[in-house]
């Protein structure tokens, strides 16, 4: 009998259509509401300083700015076209071309060279046009560049954050993975107590050990050094890794390992060739979790660094002092957010599984 998939025309019921439409409209509205703050953060990071302090804020950053130049009291009058007010507004009155280019770059996000300005001045002086209109392309990534230039610490801090996160992964997976395997495969006296302790440590406020660690790390010579933070982060990270890896290893049937041993492998070889490859996806998730924890952590970082901050600390300081240049701080914040978003996206199934699959 031929079973060709036939397309049946479903009878369209009006009431069902209406309720479905309303449902999806609701979902879309909810999604927008959830994303809205993040959207503004992104948008803000692309706005020029002048735009950022304009009210109301433009929803979308402009890509081009219109200028007009005419003669002014002190030299040249530079005006900028305001999209909202729909008119040209004077911003600068000077004869120094350098001041003009600096202003155009820093306040308006449109880098312009001195020769280019002189070209416009020439046009004005020649009498051909008055005022002279010109437009400049906006470099929307300027905020990001500026953030890293203005905060001298930013680039080293970024590298430091990566370094610390990476080392934390190493430490947690090694120490935590070993313990996780022990929990999964062995029953030993003290197992319950250890399990309980690990969970307790995980929940303990990180800030509580940060203060004494200042002294301990200083004694070890690790204060204000990346390795110090790695040691502190690993405390919580190891606990979480144990939790995750225990559940992963429990999910690998012991019979697979026993089979390997029957066919001649030692316990270590079995782990290397059978257990480890099978656990790899879960271990990758555990690694990303460790990364995220270390990457995002702020409190201990503030307390335990001074001249060698991590990236979140730099952003934090920029924000605290963000009386000026909110848009730069937004850019900094976003730079932090990008790896975080990427990794969370990758492991989102694991996050779910972790809560569904883990028994404590």
């Amino acid at each position: 009998m031929t079973t060709k998939p036939a397309k049946i025309k479903k009878p369209i019921k009006l009431s069902r259509l209406i309720s479905k439409t309303i449902f999806y409209m609701f979902i879309v509205t909810l999604s927008v509401a959830i994303i809205l703050p993040a959207f503004f953060l992104v948008s803000l990071s692309f706005l020029s300083t002048r735009e950022a302090y304009n009210y109301p804020l433009p929803l979308l950053p402009t890509l081009k700015t219109e200028y007009s130049m005419t003669f002014g009291d002190r030299g040249y009058l530079i005006s900028v076209y305001d999209n909202f007010e729909e008119e040209y507004q004077t911003v600068l009155d000077t004869s120094e071309t350098e001041k003009i280019t600096v202003y155009m770059r820093n306040q308006l996000g449109t880098p312009y060279t001195i020769p280019e300005i002189e070209e416009q001045i020439a046009k004005l002086e020649s009498g051909a046009e008055d005022p002279v209109y010109f437009s400049a392309r906006k470099n929307i990534f300027l905020n990001y560049i500026s953030f890293f230039q203005i905060s001298r610490d930013a680039v080293p801090a970024l590298l430091r954050s990566f370094q610390i996160a990476g080392l934390t992964i190493l430490v947690s997976l090694t120490i935590g993975g070993m313990a996780g395997y022990a929990f999964a495969r062995y029953i030993f006296p003290g197992r319950d107590a250890l399990k309980f302790s690990v969970l307790f440590v995980r929940m303990f406020p990180g800030v509580a050990i940060a203060l004494p660690m200042v002294i301990i790390l200083a004694n070890m010579g690790f204060y204000d050094k990346p390795i110090g933070l790695v040691l502190v982060y690993s405390v919580g990270s190891i606990a979480l890794t144990i939790w995750i890896t225990a559940s992963i290893f429990m999910g690998i049937p012991e019979s697979l390992e026993e089979a390997a041993q029957v066919f001649g492998a030692t316990k270590f070889q079995t782990f290397l060739r059978v257990t480890f490859p099978l656990a790899l996806p879960g271990l990758a998730a555990a690694a990303m979790y460790a990364f995220l924890g270390a990457w995002n952590e702020t409190v201990s970082a503030i307390i335990l660094t001074q001249f060698n901050p991590t990236f979140p600390v730099v952003v934090y300081q920029a924000l605290l002092g963000a009386v000026g240049n909110v848009n730069l701080a937004a850019a900094g914040g976003l730079v932090m957010a990008i790896p975080s978003l990427i990794f969370t996206f990758i492991i989102r199934r694991y996050i779910q599984q972790m809560w569904g699959g883990v028994t404590i």
Binding site: L319, I351, I360
Partner: protein
Amino acid sequence: MTAAAASPAKRFRDFGSKAIPYLLIAPVVIYYIFFWIRPVLITVIQSFKSAAGTFTFQNYVMVFTDPNFIPALRNTAIIVVFSVTLEFLGALFLALLINRKFFGSSFFLFIAMIPMALPAVAVGAMWLTGFTAHGWINSLLYYVGIIAEGAKIYWLAGSEWKLLALIIVIDAWQVIPSVMIILLAGLQNIPEETIEAGYVFGGDYITVLRKITVPLLGPTIQTAIILRLISAIQIWLVIVLLVGFSRMPVLVERIVYFHEEVPALDISPLMASGYTIIVSVIVSLAALLYLRVSGAFGGKKEAAQ
């Protein structure tokens, strides 16, 4: 058993295999002794030491009489109670919604997870730029037409209650996804037939929700609430970024304040330790409560493994 004694080699191997679990957990134990137990003990001891080095309760007295102590405690408590409630309800709603598995639900899930993926400083930046008088919230309201051109709402000024409400909403925005995920996992662990039986035997949507779904979610809800509790007690960064130190004190903010903002004061290290211990005690109580109700501490689940 054979009468022949086990050879030394075999005894060594037996010992080796018995020792394996201990070898595996040794690193953790050692690590925790050095980098957790030791610091915690130091903090505890430190909190009972006066500046001169004698044993004293004075530090705690100082903390309790700190004019900011009661406000900090109160603010923290209010935030915890309201945000956990709000977050729980919101997350439950979202989890039930996503569990219906409509077209696009997994994309919606990803969107719903975005707030949780953002680091705290990014979230701080986000709301800071929103709630200033010329921030994007006012801009948005203007575009939508809710407020007139010149009128700006001064979100960050005003009564403490208003500020608390703001903090609670902000916190909810970021935290609801993580609670939702826990609840979602719990929902998906309920076999579908168990719910369907509710419909077959007379229930409508609300009835089934009330009498079957939510009761079966009980353990999951407990987990989510207590974990949230523990995090909520430690809230501080967003508050500081929005209104600075001391304007609206909360427990952990006091710790950072004394350690980073006014470290030169004599009382600072003492206050910081004192507050630290208090936060630790409160959180530990919550953690113990969690471990007890989830049966982790020698519960039936152990046997199931």
